[in-house]
Symmetry: C2
Subunit: 287 residues, 2 copies
């Protein structure tokens, strides 16, 4: 698919990811205009001043009016509300996509919420960060990222091609994946690590309130994502609840196992488990 472009992109949610989508689309000449909607008028005004948005609207419905691409880049917890309030103004033939960290049932529910003639295709660029907001956005945020796209049997082929072509134009490798498989994978490599990082910070502070001041690079790296939005991650954990509960159960079983080895001063078993992790981690690189 070459030479495609969108007349009007409606951006519902103008933060790090949404603003980076707008910037990348403008840089690649893939859109006529980008119109934004978000909770904070001050943020929308700043995004317009910076040239990230061409215009913004007071309601999601107004922003979506006439748009041929609608990108949900608000926190996932806000998706249903946004679509419910704006769906009546979606134009026939429009493609709706998102950038959220949860897929699974959400994707099927979004498909059900689409008006006739409007297609939903789920997307998830793997470019999250502890940073947030338009000041951290850039037109090359996605260049070396992956983007997961999660079509279903109901997905419109032409809409799917458009969404995949958009992401490919931004740089990333685009991988299609079943929505439920996405949620199992990201429970393990993203959602669980966030919950663990939050737990680690609270535990360290509780064990010894002064300890955080003595932390080094290891602690800073390991807990960096605990500086991420608590509201966003609360919603992601809740929306991927079953996978998260299973991931926590397995994590806990593995932790109990290590704790047992330590209590028994079983050096060989500790060594074996640490080495297993070291090899797995070494294989995916440092950056």
């Amino acid at each position: 698919m070459t030479g495609f472009s969108f007349e009007k992109i409606a951006l519902l949610g103008v933060g790090l990811i949404g603003a980076s989508v707008a910037r990348a689309a403008k840089k690649k000449g893939l859109c006529g205009e980008v119109v934004g909607y978000g909770r904070s008028r001050g943020n929308l005004m700043r995004a317009k001043e910076k040239g990230i948005l061409d215009a913004f609207e007071e309601t999601a419905a107004a922003a979506c009016e006439g748009a041929d691409l609608i990108v949900l880049s608000a926190p996932v917890g806000a998706f249903y509300g946004l679509v419910e309030s704006a769906a009546a103004s979606f134009r026939t033939g429009a493609v709706v996509t998102d950038t959220g960290s949860v897929k699974g049932e959400l994707v099927y529910e979004m498909e059900r919420l689409m008006p006739a003639g409007v297609s939903f295709i789920g997307g998830h660029p793997i470019a999250g960060s502890d940073r947030s907001g338009i000041d951290a956005s850039s037109d090359d945020l996605f260049v070396s990222a992956k983007c997961i796209v999660t079509p279903t049997e109901r997905s419109d082929k032409s809409a799917l091609e458009k969404v995949m072509a958009l992401w490919r134009a931004f740089g990333p490798e685009v991988v299609t994946m079943d929505p439920h498989r996405h949620d199992r994978i990201y429970a393990s490599v993203s959602h669980l690590p966030h919950l663990i990082a939050y737990t680690l910070v609270n535990t360290a502070a509780e064990l010894e309130p002064s300890s955080l001041a003595f932390s080094g690079r290891g602690f800073l790296d390991t807990t960096r994502i605990a500086a991420s939005s608590h509201e966003l991650w609360r919603d992601i954990c809740l929306m991927n609840r079953e996978n998260m509960l299973e991931a926590i159960r397995l994590f806990r079983r593995n932790l109990d196992e290590l704790s047992g080895y330590l209590a028994a001063s079983d050096a060989d078993s500790l060594d074996r488990e640490f080495l297993k992790a070291r090899k797995l981690r070494g294989a995916i690189g440092q950056d």
Copy 2:
């Protein structure tokens, strides 16, 4: 204390930390010569070729002969064996220090192992990394680090001053701390995070073997220290066993609490705990 220097530094263990001590001491003109001992003759030869060592010896005892400063920079699990094999050759008036991640009882045991007229002062530069080996070493590794020094009531004042002056000369802020308090603090901000990072990698791989290939920056950051030496961290965990078992118990209690909130879809409680961690983590910076 100004104008001090050592005639001969014996370095027992020539890896990232030991080689960086040698380089920093040479850069600052704080030593006549640095003589190394380590397990790998090939590594010692390379360290000499690179000018990190002036010479190396076949035994720890030979390396320590005539040294006025002996630095234990091998993995902590090797300290007792090194001192037992070399103590007879420690010169009267020599200062012995270390760079290990565990203090506590180890410090008192090292004091007991010192021959008459030889002082031990425990040290711990907070400059560890998932990297290791002399190629990662540098003369400014410690510049913006902290260094914890753990004197006891038995510590010789002049030896303590020399060790503190050495670290101050390398750049870091030097903090003195009770050896047992050190181990409680570093169980929480270093040793537990390592064990958790190893657990996280093994759990993710077990939940979904393909998942690691889909990980993003959050997972890479959170698990970076799982690429650290499994033998080193096995020994650190075992040597700080009681604090580690307590840290794991509290971590597990906090994890069970979050798991309960998630199972009950208790958004407010999840939000409260995530926000608490976010504020604590935000207060210690990103780098």
